[in-house]
Protein backbone atom coordinates (compact mmCIF):
# COMPACT_ATOMS: atom_id res chain seq x y z
CA UNK A 1 0.00 0.00 0.00
CA UNK A 2 2.86 2.37 0.81
CA UNK A 3 4.51 1.73 -2.53
CA UNK A 4 1.23 2.37 -4.28
CA UNK A 5 0.66 5.59 -2.32
CA UNK A 6 4.16 6.64 -3.31
CA UNK A 7 3.32 6.12 -6.96
CA UNK A 8 0.07 8.07 -6.73
CA UNK A 9 1.84 10.86 -4.82
CA UNK A 10 4.61 11.10 -7.40
CA UNK A 11 2.07 11.29 -10.19
CA UNK A 12 0.19 14.13 -8.59
CA UNK A 13 3.40 16.02 -7.77
CA UNK A 14 4.52 15.59 -11.36
CA UNK A 15 1.17 16.89 -12.53
CA UNK A 16 1.82 20.12 -10.59
CA UNK A 17 5.50 20.55 -11.38
CA UNK A 18 5.80 24.28 -10.80
CA UNK A 19 3.94 24.24 -7.53
CA UNK A 20 5.88 21.23 -6.32
CA UNK A 21 9.17 22.92 -7.13
CA UNK A 22 8.21 26.18 -5.44
CA UNK A 23 7.11 24.46 -2.27
CA UNK A 24 10.31 22.43 -2.32
CA UNK A 25 12.37 25.58 -2.62
CA UNK A 26 12.07 26.37 1.08
CA UNK A 27 13.46 22.96 1.96
CA UNK A 28 16.16 23.16 -0.70
CA UNK A 29 17.37 26.49 0.62
CA UNK A 30 17.06 25.41 4.24
CA UNK A 31 18.98 22.16 3.84
CA UNK A 32 21.51 23.83 1.55
CA UNK A 33 22.06 26.65 4.01
CA UNK A 34 22.57 24.28 6.93
CA UNK A 35 25.15 22.25 5.02
CA UNK A 36 26.94 25.27 3.56
CA UNK A 37 27.08 27.14 6.84
CA UNK A 38 28.29 24.19 8.87
CA UNK A 39 30.89 23.55 6.19
CA UNK A 40 32.04 27.18 6.22
CA UNK A 41 32.21 27.10 10.02
CA UNK A 42 34.29 23.93 10.14
CA UNK A 43 36.49 24.94 7.23
CA UNK A 44 37.30 28.39 8.52
CA UNK A 45 37.89 27.07 12.04
CA UNK A 46 40.31 24.51 10.67
CA UNK A 47 42.08 27.20 8.71
CA UNK A 48 42.42 29.57 11.68
CA UNK A 49 43.43 26.75 14.02
CA UNK A 50 46.11 25.52 11.70
CA UNK A 51 47.40 29.04 11.24
CA UNK A 52 47.64 29.54 14.97
CA UNK A 53 49.25 26.15 15.47
CA UNK A 54 51.73 27.14 12.80
CA UNK A 55 52.89 30.09 14.87
CA UNK A 56 54.82 27.91 17.26
CA UNK A 57 54.68 24.82 19.39
CA UNK A 58 52.87 25.20 22.69
CA UNK A 59 54.23 28.65 23.34
CA UNK A 60 53.54 30.59 26.49
CA UNK A 61 54.83 34.13 26.78
CA UNK A 62 55.48 35.85 30.10
CA UNK A 63 55.60 39.65 30.05
CA UNK A 64 56.11 42.13 32.88
CA UNK A 65 53.24 44.54 33.26
CA UNK A 66 54.05 48.22 33.08
CA UNK A 67 54.55 49.62 36.54
CA UNK A 68 51.38 51.12 37.89
CA UNK A 69 51.51 53.47 40.88
CA UNK A 70 48.78 54.78 43.07
CA UNK A 71 47.98 58.40 43.79
CA UNK A 72 50.46 59.78 41.28
CA UNK A 73 53.42 57.90 42.70
CA UNK A 74 55.24 55.28 40.74
CA UNK A 75 55.29 51.98 42.61
CA UNK A 76 58.59 51.31 44.28
CA UNK A 77 60.17 48.80 41.93
CA UNK A 78 58.99 48.06 38.43
CA UNK A 79 58.48 44.38 37.80
CA UNK A 80 60.58 44.81 34.66
CA UNK A 81 63.53 44.96 36.94
CA UNK A 82 62.80 41.54 38.31
CA UNK A 83 62.81 39.70 34.99
CA UNK A 84 66.38 38.57 35.28
CA UNK A 85 68.26 35.90 33.37
CA UNK A 86 68.50 33.83 36.51
CA UNK A 87 64.72 33.49 36.45
CA UNK A 88 65.05 31.41 33.30
CA UNK A 89 66.66 28.61 35.26
CA UNK A 90 64.21 28.97 38.14
CA UNK A 91 61.23 28.62 35.85
CA UNK A 92 62.66 25.51 34.26
CA UNK A 93 63.30 24.13 37.72
CA UNK A 94 59.98 24.94 39.39
CA UNK A 95 57.60 24.43 36.48
CA UNK A 96 57.91 20.76 35.50
CA UNK A 97 55.45 21.06 32.60
CA UNK A 98 57.67 23.67 30.98
CA UNK A 99 60.48 22.08 29.01
CA UNK A 100 62.26 25.16 27.79
CA UNK A 101 62.45 28.83 28.66
CA UNK A 102 63.84 31.29 26.17
CA UNK A 103 64.70 34.76 27.38
CA UNK A 104 64.11 37.56 24.90
CA UNK A 105 65.58 41.06 24.99
CA UNK A 106 63.87 43.40 22.63
CA UNK A 107 65.28 46.76 21.59
CA UNK A 108 64.67 49.22 18.79
CA UNK A 109 67.56 50.38 16.65
CA UNK A 110 68.55 51.66 13.26
CA UNK A 111 70.21 49.27 10.82
CA UNK A 112 72.41 50.77 8.14
CA UNK A 113 73.78 49.04 5.08
CA UNK A 114 75.42 51.25 2.50
CA UNK A 115 73.03 54.15 1.92
CA UNK A 116 69.96 52.31 3.15
CA UNK A 117 68.83 52.55 6.73
CA UNK A 118 65.85 50.90 8.43
CA UNK A 119 64.45 51.43 11.91
CA UNK A 120 63.48 48.09 13.29
CA UNK A 121 63.11 45.82 16.25
CA UNK A 122 66.19 43.90 17.28
CA UNK A 123 65.66 40.75 19.26
CA UNK A 124 68.37 39.34 21.48
CA UNK A 125 67.71 35.65 21.97
CA UNK A 126 69.24 32.21 21.66
CA UNK A 127 69.13 29.24 19.31
CA UNK A 128 65.91 27.83 20.77
CA UNK A 129 63.87 30.83 19.67
CA UNK A 130 63.72 29.65 16.06
CA UNK A 131 62.72 26.15 17.06
CA UNK A 132 59.91 27.15 19.41
CA UNK A 133 58.48 29.55 16.83
CA UNK A 134 58.63 26.94 14.05
CA UNK A 135 60.84 29.50 12.37
CA UNK A 136 63.08 28.18 9.61
CA UNK A 137 66.34 29.46 8.19
CA UNK A 138 66.35 30.32 4.51
CA UNK A 139 70.08 30.90 4.01
CA UNK A 140 73.02 30.68 6.47
CA UNK A 141 72.37 29.82 10.13
CA UNK A 142 70.41 31.08 13.07
CA UNK A 143 72.32 32.33 16.12
CA UNK A 144 74.37 29.48 17.58
CA UNK A 145 75.34 28.68 21.16
CA UNK A 146 78.91 29.73 20.40
CA UNK A 147 77.75 33.10 19.13
CA UNK A 148 76.00 33.63 22.43
CA UNK A 149 78.82 32.35 24.62
CA UNK A 150 81.45 34.40 22.82
CA UNK A 151 79.27 37.49 22.42
CA UNK A 152 79.88 37.61 18.70
CA UNK A 153 78.33 40.55 16.96
CA UNK A 154 76.43 38.49 14.42
CA UNK A 155 72.96 39.10 13.07
CA UNK A 156 70.19 37.07 11.44
CA UNK A 157 67.66 38.97 9.33
CA UNK A 158 63.95 38.43 8.85
CA UNK A 159 62.97 37.89 5.21
CA UNK A 160 61.35 41.29 4.72
CA UNK A 161 64.16 43.10 6.52
CA UNK A 162 66.74 41.36 4.30
CA UNK A 163 64.84 42.53 1.23
CA UNK A 164 64.59 46.08 2.56
CA UNK A 165 68.32 46.30 3.27
CA UNK A 166 69.87 44.33 0.44
CA UNK A 167 67.12 43.98 -2.16
CA UNK A 168 68.18 41.01 -4.30
CA UNK A 169 71.79 40.78 -3.10
CA UNK A 170 72.87 37.93 -0.86
CA UNK A 171 73.17 39.44 2.63
CA UNK A 172 75.25 36.62 4.10
CA UNK A 173 78.71 37.88 5.05
CA UNK A 174 77.71 41.53 4.65
CA UNK A 175 78.34 44.00 7.46
CA UNK A 176 75.62 46.07 9.01
CA UNK A 177 75.95 49.14 11.15
CA UNK A 178 73.58 49.29 14.09
CA UNK A 179 72.74 52.58 15.71
CA UNK A 180 71.51 52.06 19.22
CA UNK A 181 71.41 54.58 22.04
CA UNK A 182 73.79 56.96 20.22
CA UNK A 183 76.37 54.20 19.84
CA UNK A 184 77.37 52.41 16.65
CA UNK A 185 77.96 48.66 16.55
CA UNK A 186 79.06 46.54 13.63
CA UNK A 187 77.37 43.21 12.95
CA UNK A 188 78.07 40.40 10.48
CA UNK A 189 75.03 38.92 8.76
CA UNK A 190 75.13 35.14 9.22
CA UNK A 191 71.63 34.13 8.21
CA UNK A 192 68.33 35.04 6.60
CA UNK A 193 65.08 33.51 7.80
CA UNK A 194 62.24 32.15 5.69
CA UNK A 195 59.03 34.08 5.35
CA UNK A 196 56.76 33.50 8.35
CA UNK A 197 54.37 36.39 8.82
CA UNK A 198 52.64 37.24 12.05
CA UNK A 199 53.27 35.48 15.30
CA UNK A 200 52.37 36.03 18.93
CA UNK A 201 53.50 39.60 19.39
CA UNK A 202 54.38 40.88 15.97
CA UNK A 203 55.65 40.26 12.49
CA UNK A 204 58.77 38.12 12.61
CA UNK A 205 59.83 39.00 9.05
CA UNK A 206 60.62 42.60 9.92
CA UNK A 207 63.05 41.83 12.70
CA UNK A 208 66.74 41.32 13.23
CA UNK A 209 68.01 38.64 15.60
CA UNK A 210 71.25 38.86 17.59
CA UNK A 211 72.72 36.78 20.43
CA UNK A 212 71.09 37.49 23.79
CA UNK A 213 74.43 38.14 25.44
CA UNK A 214 75.24 40.85 22.91
CA UNK A 215 71.90 42.53 23.39
CA UNK A 216 72.15 42.49 27.16
CA UNK A 217 75.81 43.16 27.84
CA UNK A 218 76.90 45.22 24.84
CA UNK A 219 73.83 47.12 23.61
CA UNK A 220 71.82 47.76 26.74
CA UNK A 221 74.15 46.82 29.54
CA UNK A 222 71.17 45.56 31.47
CA UNK A 223 70.50 42.51 33.64
CA UNK A 224 66.81 42.25 32.75
CA UNK A 225 65.06 40.72 29.78
CA UNK A 226 61.88 41.89 28.00
CA UNK A 227 59.97 38.64 28.18
CA UNK A 228 60.28 34.90 28.46
CA UNK A 229 58.96 32.44 25.99
CA UNK A 230 58.20 29.15 27.70
CA UNK A 231 57.48 25.97 25.84
CA UNK A 232 55.08 23.48 27.36
CA UNK A 233 56.01 19.80 27.21
CA UNK A 234 52.98 19.04 25.06
CA UNK A 235 49.72 20.65 24.04
CA UNK A 236 47.91 18.57 26.67
CA UNK A 237 50.20 19.97 29.35
CA UNK A 238 49.90 23.55 28.12
CA UNK A 239 47.25 24.60 30.60
CA UNK A 240 49.11 22.92 33.49
CA UNK A 241 52.22 24.76 32.39
CA UNK A 242 50.33 28.04 32.37
CA UNK A 243 49.11 27.42 35.92
CA UNK A 244 52.56 26.46 37.13
CA UNK A 245 53.98 29.61 35.57
CA UNK A 246 51.29 31.75 37.17
CA UNK A 247 51.89 30.25 40.59
CA UNK A 248 55.61 30.54 40.29
CA UNK A 249 55.58 34.15 39.07
CA UNK A 250 53.05 35.14 41.72
CA UNK A 251 55.25 33.69 44.45
CA UNK A 252 58.50 34.93 42.99
CA UNK A 253 57.25 38.49 42.52
CA UNK A 254 55.21 38.31 45.71
CA UNK A 255 52.27 39.33 43.59
CA UNK A 256 49.13 37.29 44.34
CA UNK A 257 46.91 39.50 42.20
CA UNK A 258 49.04 39.07 39.10
CA UNK A 259 49.48 42.80 38.74
CA UNK A 260 53.11 42.70 37.73
CA UNK A 261 53.15 40.09 35.02
CA UNK A 262 51.06 38.81 32.20
CA UNK A 263 50.94 35.35 30.67
CA UNK A 264 49.60 34.71 27.17
CA UNK A 265 49.42 31.16 25.91
CA UNK A 266 48.86 29.94 22.42
CA UNK A 267 46.15 27.57 23.61
CA UNK A 268 44.29 30.44 25.16
CA UNK A 269 44.21 32.21 21.81
CA UNK A 270 43.22 28.96 20.13
CA UNK A 271 40.43 28.44 22.63
CA UNK A 272 39.15 31.96 22.15
CA UNK A 273 39.20 31.70 18.39
CA UNK A 274 37.53 28.32 18.27
CA UNK A 275 34.89 29.32 20.79
CA UNK A 276 34.13 32.41 18.71
CA UNK A 277 33.84 30.45 15.48
CA UNK A 278 31.83 27.76 17.24
CA UNK A 279 29.35 30.32 18.52
CA UNK A 280 29.13 31.80 15.04
CA UNK A 281 28.50 28.38 13.50
CA UNK A 282 25.81 27.57 16.02
CA UNK A 283 24.13 30.92 15.49
CA UNK A 284 24.20 30.71 11.70
CA UNK A 285 23.22 27.05 11.80
CA UNK A 286 20.28 28.03 13.97
CA UNK A 287 19.19 30.63 11.45
CA UNK A 288 19.47 28.04 8.69
CA UNK A 289 17.42 25.59 10.75
CA UNK A 290 14.75 28.25 11.17
CA UNK A 291 14.64 28.72 7.40
CA UNK A 292 14.13 24.97 7.15
CA UNK A 293 11.26 25.25 9.60
CA UNK A 294 9.74 28.08 7.59
CA UNK A 295 10.09 25.89 4.50
CA UNK A 296 8.17 23.21 6.37
CA UNK A 297 5.37 25.61 7.15
CA UNK A 298 5.29 26.48 3.44
CA UNK A 299 4.88 22.78 2.67
CA UNK A 300 2.01 22.52 5.11
CA UNK A 301 0.37 25.53 3.53
CA UNK A 302 0.64 24.04 0.05
CA UNK A 303 -0.59 20.67 1.25
CA UNK A 304 -3.64 22.27 2.87
CA UNK A 305 -4.43 24.12 -0.34
CA UNK A 306 -3.88 20.96 -2.30
CA UNK A 307 -6.21 18.93 -0.07
CA UNK A 308 -8.97 21.52 -0.36
CA UNK A 309 -8.49 21.85 -4.08
CA UNK A 310 -8.67 18.11 -4.55
CA UNK A 311 -11.64 17.47 -2.29
CA UNK A 312 -13.59 16.04 -5.19
CA UNK A 313 -10.70 13.80 -6.18
CA UNK A 314 -10.62 12.50 -2.61
CA UNK A 315 -14.37 11.84 -2.84
CA UNK A 316 -13.96 9.96 -6.11
CA UNK A 317 -11.09 7.89 -4.76
CA UNK A 318 -13.15 7.00 -1.72
CA UNK A 319 -16.16 6.11 -3.86
CA UNK A 320 -13.94 3.81 -5.87
CA UNK A 321 -12.83 2.01 -2.73
CA UNK A 322 -9.93 3.96 -1.23
CA UNK A 323 -9.73 3.48 2.52
CA UNK A 324 -8.93 6.36 4.87
CA UNK A 325 -5.39 5.03 5.23
CA UNK A 326 -4.96 5.04 1.44
CA UNK A 327 -5.78 8.74 1.35
CA UNK A 328 -3.67 9.47 4.43
CA UNK A 329 -0.63 7.78 2.93
CA UNK A 330 -1.16 9.42 -0.44
CA UNK A 331 -0.96 12.91 1.01
CA UNK A 332 1.70 12.05 3.56
CA UNK A 333 3.79 10.62 0.74
CA UNK A 334 3.32 13.80 -1.23
CA UNK A 335 4.71 16.00 1.50
CA UNK A 336 7.42 13.48 2.32
CA UNK A 337 8.40 13.36 -1.34
CA UNK A 338 8.54 17.13 -1.46
CA UNK A 339 10.81 17.38 1.56
CA UNK A 340 13.01 14.38 0.77
CA UNK A 341 13.50 15.40 -2.82
CA UNK A 342 13.99 18.98 -1.67
CA UNK A 343 16.46 17.65 0.87
CA UNK A 344 18.48 15.84 -1.79
CA UNK A 345 18.56 18.91 -4.02
CA UNK A 346 19.45 20.96 -0.94
CA UNK A 347 22.42 18.72 -0.19
CA UNK A 348 23.66 19.26 -3.72
CA UNK A 349 23.04 22.98 -3.48
CA UNK A 350 24.77 23.22 -0.10
CA UNK A 351 27.69 21.23 -1.45
CA UNK A 352 28.13 23.59 -4.38
CA UNK A 353 27.74 26.64 -2.15
CA UNK A 354 30.29 25.23 0.32
CA UNK A 355 32.71 24.56 -2.53
CA UNK A 356 32.53 28.11 -3.87
CA UNK A 357 32.69 29.66 -0.43
CA UNK A 358 35.76 27.59 0.42
CA UNK A 359 37.37 28.72 -2.83
CA UNK A 360 36.54 32.30 -2.03
CA UNK A 361 37.67 32.14 1.60
CA UNK A 362 40.65 29.92 0.80
CA UNK A 363 39.94 27.34 3.48
CA UNK A 364 39.61 23.60 3.14
CA UNK A 365 36.15 22.40 2.07
CA UNK A 366 34.84 20.18 4.83
CA UNK A 367 31.40 18.58 4.52
CA UNK A 368 30.60 17.04 7.87
CA UNK A 369 28.63 13.83 7.22
CA UNK A 370 26.73 14.55 10.40
CA UNK A 371 25.46 17.87 9.06
CA UNK A 372 24.24 16.14 5.88
CA UNK A 373 22.48 13.39 7.82
CA UNK A 374 21.05 15.87 10.31
CA UNK A 375 19.78 18.31 7.67
CA UNK A 376 18.25 15.53 5.59
CA UNK A 377 16.73 13.85 8.64
CA UNK A 378 15.28 17.16 9.74
CA UNK A 379 13.80 17.65 6.26
CA UNK A 380 12.14 14.23 6.43
CA UNK A 381 10.86 14.97 9.91
CA UNK A 382 9.38 18.23 8.65
CA UNK A 383 7.76 16.37 5.77
CA UNK A 384 6.00 14.04 8.17
CA UNK A 385 5.29 16.63 10.85
CA UNK A 386 3.84 19.28 8.57
CA UNK A 387 2.29 16.77 6.18
CA UNK A 388 0.40 14.86 8.83
CA UNK A 389 -2.28 17.44 9.56
CA UNK A 390 -3.31 18.03 5.92
CA UNK A 391 -3.18 14.28 5.23
CA UNK A 392 -5.40 13.54 8.21
CA UNK A 393 -7.79 16.22 7.10
CA UNK A 394 -7.99 14.56 3.69
CA UNK A 395 -8.38 11.07 5.12
CA UNK A 396 -11.21 12.07 7.43
CA UNK A 397 -13.34 13.62 4.69
CA UNK A 398 -16.84 12.29 4.35
CA UNK A 399 -17.12 10.80 0.84
CA UNK A 400 -20.62 12.18 0.24
CA UNK A 401 -19.59 15.74 1.12
CA UNK A 402 -16.35 15.41 -0.80
CA UNK A 403 -18.18 14.27 -3.95
CA UNK A 404 -20.57 17.20 -3.72
CA UNK A 405 -17.75 19.73 -3.30
CA UNK A 406 -17.59 22.27 -6.09
Amino acid sequence: MILQSLKIALESLWANKMRSFLSMLGIIIGVGAVIAIVSVGTGSTQQVTSRIANLGSNMITVYPRTARGQGGRISSVSSQEKFSLKLTDYIEKFCPSVIKVIPVKQVSGRLISGDINVNTTILGTNIDYAEVNNYEVDRGNFISENDDDERRQVMVLGSQLAKDLFEDDNPIGKRIKVNYDKQVYMFDVVGVMKEKGGSMGGDLDDRAYIPLSVAMDKLTNSDFVTSYIAQAASSEKASTAVNQLKNFMAKFLNDENEEQFRIISQDEILDTVSSVTETMSIMLGGIAAISLLVGGIGIMNIMLVSVTERTREIGVRKALGARNTHILFQFLMESLNLTSFGGILGIGFGWIAAYFLSQYGDWPMVIAPLSVVLAFGFALFIGIFFGLYPAMKAAKMNPVDALRYE
Partner: protein, 228 residues
Protein backbone atom coordinates in the same frame (compact mmCIF):
# COMPACT_ATOMS: atom_id res chain seq x y z
CA UNK B 1 -33.65 -14.72 -9.22
CA UNK B 2 -31.76 -13.94 -6.06
CA UNK B 3 -32.25 -10.90 -3.95
CA UNK B 4 -29.28 -8.58 -4.35
CA UNK B 5 -30.64 -5.65 -2.39
CA UNK B 6 -33.09 -5.78 0.47
CA UNK B 7 -34.14 -2.46 1.98
CA UNK B 8 -36.51 -2.29 4.94
CA UNK B 9 -37.95 0.88 6.47
CA UNK B 10 -34.82 2.84 5.55
CA UNK B 11 -34.56 6.22 7.23
CA UNK B 12 -32.08 9.02 7.02
CA UNK B 13 -32.26 12.17 9.08
CA UNK B 14 -29.80 15.04 8.65
CA UNK B 15 -29.14 17.47 11.45
CA UNK B 16 -28.75 20.89 9.97
CA UNK B 17 -28.16 23.23 12.87
CA UNK B 18 -31.13 22.76 15.16
CA UNK B 19 -33.41 21.55 12.40
CA UNK B 20 -33.77 17.86 11.58
CA UNK B 21 -34.29 17.13 7.92
CA UNK B 22 -35.85 13.76 7.18
CA UNK B 23 -34.52 12.85 3.76
CA UNK B 24 -35.81 9.29 3.87
CA UNK B 25 -38.80 8.43 6.04
CA UNK B 26 -39.12 4.66 5.75
CA UNK B 27 -38.41 3.21 2.34
CA UNK B 28 -38.70 -0.51 1.62
CA UNK B 29 -37.99 -2.39 -1.62
CA UNK B 30 -36.00 -5.27 -3.08
CA UNK B 31 -33.85 -5.52 -6.16
CA UNK B 32 -32.90 -8.80 -7.76
CA UNK B 33 -29.68 -9.65 -9.55
CA UNK B 34 -29.85 -8.65 -13.19
CA UNK B 35 -32.57 -6.05 -12.80
CA UNK B 36 -32.45 -2.60 -14.36
CA UNK B 37 -34.15 -0.20 -11.94
CA UNK B 38 -34.59 3.55 -12.15
CA UNK B 39 -35.03 5.62 -9.03
CA UNK B 40 -36.92 8.73 -10.02
CA UNK B 41 -38.11 11.78 -8.25
CA UNK B 42 -37.87 15.55 -8.18
CA UNK B 43 -35.03 17.23 -6.29
CA UNK B 44 -35.58 16.97 -2.56
CA UNK B 45 -37.35 13.65 -2.90
CA UNK B 46 -34.49 11.83 -1.21
CA UNK B 47 -33.18 10.01 -4.28
CA UNK B 48 -29.60 11.23 -3.83
CA UNK B 49 -29.62 10.16 -0.19
CA UNK B 50 -30.96 6.78 -1.20
CA UNK B 51 -28.29 6.46 -3.83
CA UNK B 52 -25.52 7.33 -1.32
CA UNK B 53 -26.79 4.67 1.05
CA UNK B 54 -27.14 2.03 -1.67
CA UNK B 55 -23.63 3.02 -2.83
CA UNK B 56 -22.25 2.42 0.67
CA UNK B 57 -21.08 6.03 0.87
CA UNK B 58 -23.33 6.87 3.81
CA UNK B 59 -25.00 5.15 6.74
CA UNK B 60 -28.79 5.07 7.24
CA UNK B 61 -30.07 6.41 10.56
CA UNK B 62 -32.83 3.82 10.72
CA UNK B 63 -34.01 0.63 9.03
CA UNK B 64 -32.03 -2.11 7.34
CA UNK B 65 -30.00 -2.38 4.17
CA UNK B 66 -28.76 -5.78 3.07
CA UNK B 67 -26.43 -6.01 0.12
CA UNK B 68 -25.64 -9.56 -1.01
CA UNK B 69 -27.00 -10.71 2.33
CA UNK B 70 -24.70 -8.48 4.35
CA UNK B 71 -26.15 -5.91 6.74
CA UNK B 72 -24.36 -2.80 5.50
CA UNK B 73 -25.27 -0.65 8.50
CA UNK B 74 -23.03 -2.91 10.64
CA UNK B 75 -19.88 -2.37 8.53
CA UNK B 76 -17.08 -0.05 9.59
CA UNK B 77 -15.39 2.53 7.34
CA UNK B 78 -12.80 0.13 5.95
CA UNK B 79 -15.32 -2.61 5.25
CA UNK B 80 -17.56 -0.06 3.54
CA UNK B 81 -14.62 1.00 1.37
CA UNK B 82 -14.07 -2.63 0.41
CA UNK B 83 -17.79 -3.01 -0.42
CA UNK B 84 -17.71 0.09 -2.59
CA UNK B 85 -14.65 -1.24 -4.33
CA UNK B 86 -15.99 -4.71 -5.05
CA UNK B 87 -19.78 -4.48 -5.17
CA UNK B 88 -20.47 -1.05 -6.60
CA UNK B 89 -19.48 0.63 -9.82
CA UNK B 90 -20.24 4.36 -9.82
CA UNK B 91 -21.10 6.48 -12.84
CA UNK B 92 -21.45 10.16 -11.93
CA UNK B 93 -23.15 13.04 -13.63
CA UNK B 94 -19.90 15.03 -13.69
CA UNK B 95 -17.84 12.03 -14.88
CA UNK B 96 -15.36 12.65 -12.03
CA UNK B 97 -12.27 11.54 -13.90
CA UNK B 98 -8.86 12.58 -12.57
CA UNK B 99 -7.95 15.33 -15.02
CA UNK B 100 -4.18 14.97 -15.21
CA UNK B 101 -3.90 11.21 -15.66
CA UNK B 102 -4.51 9.12 -18.76
CA UNK B 103 -7.87 7.43 -19.19
CA UNK B 104 -6.15 4.07 -18.76
CA UNK B 105 -4.88 5.14 -15.32
CA UNK B 106 -8.34 6.46 -14.51
CA UNK B 107 -9.88 3.10 -15.25
CA UNK B 108 -7.13 1.32 -13.29
CA UNK B 109 -7.99 3.33 -10.20
CA UNK B 110 -10.50 0.93 -8.57
CA UNK B 111 -7.99 -1.89 -9.10
CA UNK B 112 -5.25 -0.01 -7.25
CA UNK B 113 -7.38 -0.08 -4.13
CA UNK B 114 -7.74 -3.86 -4.05
CA UNK B 115 -4.10 -4.77 -4.62
CA UNK B 116 -4.56 -6.16 -8.12
CA UNK B 117 -1.19 -6.94 -9.57
CA UNK B 118 -0.01 -4.11 -11.81
CA UNK B 119 0.30 -6.37 -14.85
CA UNK B 120 -3.30 -7.55 -14.52
CA UNK B 121 -4.38 -4.02 -13.73
CA UNK B 122 -3.35 -2.73 -17.11
CA UNK B 123 -4.87 -5.67 -18.94
CA UNK B 124 -8.21 -5.45 -17.11
CA UNK B 125 -8.43 -1.67 -17.57
CA UNK B 126 -7.63 -1.91 -21.27
CA UNK B 127 -10.23 -4.64 -21.63
CA UNK B 128 -12.91 -2.50 -19.93
CA UNK B 129 -12.07 0.42 -22.20
CA UNK B 130 -12.32 -1.90 -25.18
CA UNK B 131 -15.84 -2.82 -24.07
CA UNK B 132 -16.94 0.82 -24.19
CA UNK B 133 -15.27 1.36 -27.56
CA UNK B 134 -12.26 3.38 -26.41
CA UNK B 135 -9.63 0.66 -26.77
CA UNK B 136 -7.55 2.82 -29.08
CA UNK B 137 -7.35 5.91 -26.87
CA UNK B 138 -5.80 4.51 -23.71
CA UNK B 139 -3.20 7.24 -23.34
CA UNK B 140 -5.42 10.22 -23.93
CA UNK B 141 -6.15 12.55 -21.06
CA UNK B 142 -9.71 13.45 -20.06
CA UNK B 143 -9.36 16.99 -21.48
CA UNK B 144 -8.55 15.50 -24.89
CA UNK B 145 -11.84 13.62 -25.30
CA UNK B 146 -15.51 14.59 -25.63
CA UNK B 147 -18.16 14.52 -22.90
CA UNK B 148 -19.71 11.32 -24.24
CA UNK B 149 -16.32 9.68 -24.31
CA UNK B 150 -15.63 10.83 -20.76
CA UNK B 151 -18.81 9.14 -19.61
CA UNK B 152 -17.79 6.00 -21.45
CA UNK B 153 -14.46 6.09 -19.58
CA UNK B 154 -16.44 6.44 -16.35
CA UNK B 155 -18.55 3.41 -17.33
CA UNK B 156 -15.37 1.44 -18.07
CA UNK B 157 -14.08 2.46 -14.65
CA UNK B 158 -17.35 1.27 -13.08
CA UNK B 159 -17.09 -2.04 -14.91
CA UNK B 160 -13.44 -2.83 -14.34
CA UNK B 161 -13.91 -4.58 -10.98
CA UNK B 162 -16.93 -6.53 -12.27
CA UNK B 163 -19.17 -5.17 -9.50
CA UNK B 164 -22.56 -6.51 -8.39
CA UNK B 165 -24.30 -3.21 -9.13
CA UNK B 166 -23.63 -0.38 -11.52
CA UNK B 167 -24.93 2.72 -9.85
CA UNK B 168 -25.46 5.59 -12.27
CA UNK B 169 -26.33 9.01 -10.89
CA UNK B 170 -27.83 11.22 -13.63
CA UNK B 171 -25.38 9.80 -16.19
CA UNK B 172 -26.80 11.92 -19.02
CA UNK B 173 -27.19 15.13 -17.01
CA UNK B 174 -24.11 16.77 -18.49
CA UNK B 175 -24.57 15.53 -22.05
CA UNK B 176 -26.61 16.64 -25.04
CA UNK B 177 -29.63 14.47 -25.80
CA UNK B 178 -28.03 12.62 -28.71
CA UNK B 179 -24.95 11.65 -26.69
CA UNK B 180 -27.20 10.96 -23.71
CA UNK B 181 -29.12 8.43 -25.77
CA UNK B 182 -25.88 6.76 -26.86
CA UNK B 183 -24.83 6.43 -23.25
CA UNK B 184 -28.23 5.04 -22.26
CA UNK B 185 -28.00 2.50 -25.09
CA UNK B 186 -24.62 1.46 -23.78
CA UNK B 187 -26.01 1.06 -20.27
CA UNK B 188 -28.90 -0.91 -21.68
CA UNK B 189 -26.43 -3.20 -23.44
CA UNK B 190 -24.61 -3.75 -20.14
CA UNK B 191 -27.91 -4.81 -18.65
CA UNK B 192 -28.45 -7.23 -21.51
CA UNK B 193 -25.09 -8.78 -20.63
CA UNK B 194 -26.45 -9.54 -17.14
CA UNK B 195 -25.32 -6.54 -15.07
CA UNK B 196 -27.57 -5.18 -12.35
CA UNK B 197 -28.12 -1.49 -12.95
CA UNK B 198 -29.58 1.18 -10.71
CA UNK B 199 -30.16 4.49 -12.40
CA UNK B 200 -30.94 7.65 -10.46
CA UNK B 201 -32.55 10.39 -12.50
CA UNK B 202 -35.21 13.04 -12.53
CA UNK B 203 -35.91 12.71 -16.25
CA UNK B 204 -38.84 10.41 -17.05
CA UNK B 205 -37.51 9.78 -20.54
CA UNK B 206 -34.21 8.44 -19.22
CA UNK B 207 -35.90 6.48 -16.44
CA UNK B 208 -37.94 4.56 -19.02
CA UNK B 209 -34.88 2.71 -20.26
CA UNK B 210 -35.28 0.56 -17.14
CA UNK B 211 -37.67 -2.32 -16.58
CA UNK B 212 -38.85 -0.85 -13.33
CA UNK B 213 -39.14 2.66 -11.98
CA UNK B 214 -39.28 3.48 -8.26
CA UNK B 215 -40.85 6.91 -7.84
CA UNK B 216 -39.76 8.78 -4.71
CA UNK B 217 -41.59 11.69 -3.23
CA UNK B 218 -40.82 13.48 0.03
CA UNK B 219 -38.71 10.65 1.35
CA UNK B 220 -41.23 7.92 0.67
CA UNK B 221 -41.94 5.58 -2.23
CA UNK B 222 -44.74 7.07 -4.25
CA UNK B 223 -45.02 4.35 -6.87
CA UNK B 224 -43.12 1.17 -7.84
CA UNK B 225 -43.86 0.79 -11.51
CA UNK B 226 -42.93 -2.06 -13.82
CA UNK B 227 -42.40 -1.03 -17.43
CA UNK B 228 -43.35 -3.47 -20.08
Amino acid sequence: MSKLILIEQLKKTYHVGKVNVEALRGVSFEINTGEFVSIMGPSGSGKSTLMHIIGCLDYPTGGKYFLSGQDVSKLNDNQLALFRNQKIGFVFQQFNLLPKTTILRNVELPLTYNDTHSKNKKRLAAQALEEVGLGNRLNHRPNEISGGEKQRVAIARALVNRPSIILADEPTGNLDSKTGQDIMKMIDKLHDKGNTIILVTHEAEIARYAQRVIHLKDGLIDRDEVIT
